[in-house]
């Protein structure tokens, strides 16, 4: 039932009523059905002992479940697409099977069990590594594949219209490519911008496309929260960090370890601050994107949750709140469209600025004297 709610985000208000009716229906049905959905919904520490509150709508669980990762793709109701689980442990080697083998946590497979948090754990508590193709990994693959399709066809379109005015898909993406190249890369990095432009284009479009895909609620691989996942944002930030410091010149390091024009007694304070700054930058990049996108998803889901919270109290109240919730949700969605672009732009711009400071030649005059 929780996934029904998630799916409803995109649908018309009329369908909310239907969802609500089903919710009530579930509540009214036998314990078995409720057990099943609750088990699928995750968020419980215990397998057994579903109390009365399990049947109640739990917005926190629903939201966390949505913005988190999972081992399968829930479509609607109890229908889910299983995804491959890939586990490696020193003792048992690789184990590859479909997540449906867990039967929503009811079954153990080869010494592994599926927790209600959606995570896989070993039954005996031994160490293992989880390389599963989870919901987010599948979104990642899908979005990267989409990028390949889009940009290789853009490149082909460029080749076809060589020396002529842009046409078709090329005309859609060319302004953005030129924007990143001229206003982000060239403006922030300076004369050496050409080397870094492909990376900046890559992160810009990766973040933007994934932000947009996260806003489309249905069907998979849309509606995930990939750019709101810390593993993804930290990878991007670390890549920027590595590129920055691999291309850093003498000037950059001397600004950290021997800031020009600073009296000697301040250096013991300043150098640690500069070194901290080096590491704070990627952390800030990581958290900004993660927090913005995750917060957007939480707010959107919170508005939808209100409908069901009120709906549980009174069906009429649910309908009443639905009007406002949907209005706010639409407003948020429009805002999120802006945020999706803005965060991709900000991440790319900051990456470009960090790279720019690393490759910048003697900018301060006092550096030579």
């Amino acid at each position: 039932m929780i996934f029904l709610n998630v799916a409803l985000m995109a649908n018309e208000p009329a369908e909310h009523g239907k969802g609500e009716a089903k919710t009530e229906n579930h509540n009214g049905e036998g314990a078995e059905k409720a057990d099943h959905t609750a088990a699928a919904a995750t968020g419980h520490d215990e397998f057994d002992g579903h109390g009365e509150e399990d049947k109640k709508f739990n917005p926190g669980e629903m939201i966390l479940e949505h913005i988190g990762d999972a081992h399968d793709w829930h479509l609607f109701g109890d229908v889910a697409v299983p995804l491959p689980v890939i586990l490696y442990s020193k003792d048992k080697g690789f184990d590859v099977f479909l997540s449906s083998a867990f039967e929503h946590g009811h079954k153990e497979v080869n010494g592994y069990k599926l927790l209600h948090t959606g995570k896989v754990a070993s039954v005996d508590g031994s160490d293992f590594y989880d390389f599963s193709i989870t919901k987010n990994v599948s979104i990642l693959f899908a979005s990267l594949f989409l990028m390949c399709v889009i940009f290789i066809s853009v490149a082909r379109s460029f080749a076809k219209n060589r020396g002529k005015a842009p046409k078709g898909i090329q005309a859609i993406f060319e302004p953005f490519i030129v924007f990143i190249r001229d206003d982000v890369s060239k403006a922030s990095i300076g004369p050496k911008y050409e080397k870094y432009t492909p990376y900046l284009l890559m992160i810009f479009f990766f973040i933007w496309i994934n932000n947009m895909m996260g806003l489309v609620p249905f069907p998979p691989p849309f509606g995930g929260n990939l750019t709101g996942n810390i593993a993804v944002t930290v990878t991007l930030a670390v890549l920027t960090f590595i590129i920055t410091h691999v291309s850093a010149n003498k000037n950059y390091w001397s600004h950290i370890f021997n800031p020009p024009g600073v009296p000697g007694f301040v250096l013991p304070i300043l150098i640690p601050i500069e070194i901290m700054g080096v590491f704070i930058k990627p952390v800030v990049l990581t958290l900004r994107l993660f927090a913005n996108i995750t917060a957007g998803h939480i707010i959107g889901l919170a508005f939808i949750s209100l409908i069901f919270i009120f709906g549980e109290m009174n069906a009429g109240a649910g309908y009443g709140v639905a009007i406002f919730s949907v209005a706010f949700k639409v407003f948020m969605l429009v805002l999120e469209l802006l945020v999706a672009f803005l965060q991709a732009y900000v991440f790319t711009l900051l990456s470009a600025i960090y790279i720019g400071t690393a490759v910048e030649e003697h900018h301060h005059e006092e550096a030579h004297h």
Partner: protein, 164 residues
């Protein structure tokens, strides 16, 4: 909290797949796109430059044409002027020649007349002389019809010759 703890699996797949796709797109999309964008921009730039140059060339040509026209006009005026002068010259020359010829003809005529006149006079003179001689002969014949008078005259002439 699970949310801010990166999961190993996603991290691994993210790094691997992102880098693969990055290098793939760098080779097959970003580099060609950026190259072609640059190429097109330089071609547009050069085309604009060429257009600008053509405009300048046109203006220059136009100025040239103007100058040529001006020159042609001046030339035409010069030619016309020269022609007019030539015409006037010719006319005046012809007039002069005509007067000269007329003068010459008149002069010749006059000379002829003079000559004729002189010839006529000479002829007349001769005639008169001849007549005079004839008359004189006749007179002398008549005078010297007697021997006496012939003798007197011869004596007279001899007398005169002696005196000389």
């Amino acid at each position: 909290m699970d949310l801010i703890k990166p999961e190993l699996g996603l991290l691994f797949w993210m790094v691997v797949s992102f880098l693969i796709v990055f290098f793939l797109l760098k080779k097959f999309a970003w580099k060609p796109i950026l190259d072609m964008l640059k190429e097109r921009e330089t071609s547009i730039e050069s085309a604009l430059q060429a257009a600008e140059n053509a405009k300048f060339e046109m203006a220059r040509l136009q100025a040239n044409n103007e100058q040529l026209i001006q020159e042609a006009k001046a030339e035409r005026d010069n030619i016309l002027k020269a022609a007019r002068e030539a015409k006037e010259n010719m006319i005046s020359e012809a007039k002069d020649k005509a007067t000269q010829e007329a003068d010459r003809l008149i002069k010749i005529a006059r000379e002829n007349i003079n000559n004729e006149k002189m010839a006529a006079i000479t002829d007349l003179k001769n005639q008169v002389a001849l007549l005079s001689v004839e008359i004189a002969e006749k007179l002398i014949k008549a005078e010297l019809a007697n021997k006496e008078s012939q003798k007197d005259l011869i004596n007279k002439y001899l007398e005169e010759a002696k005196l000389n």
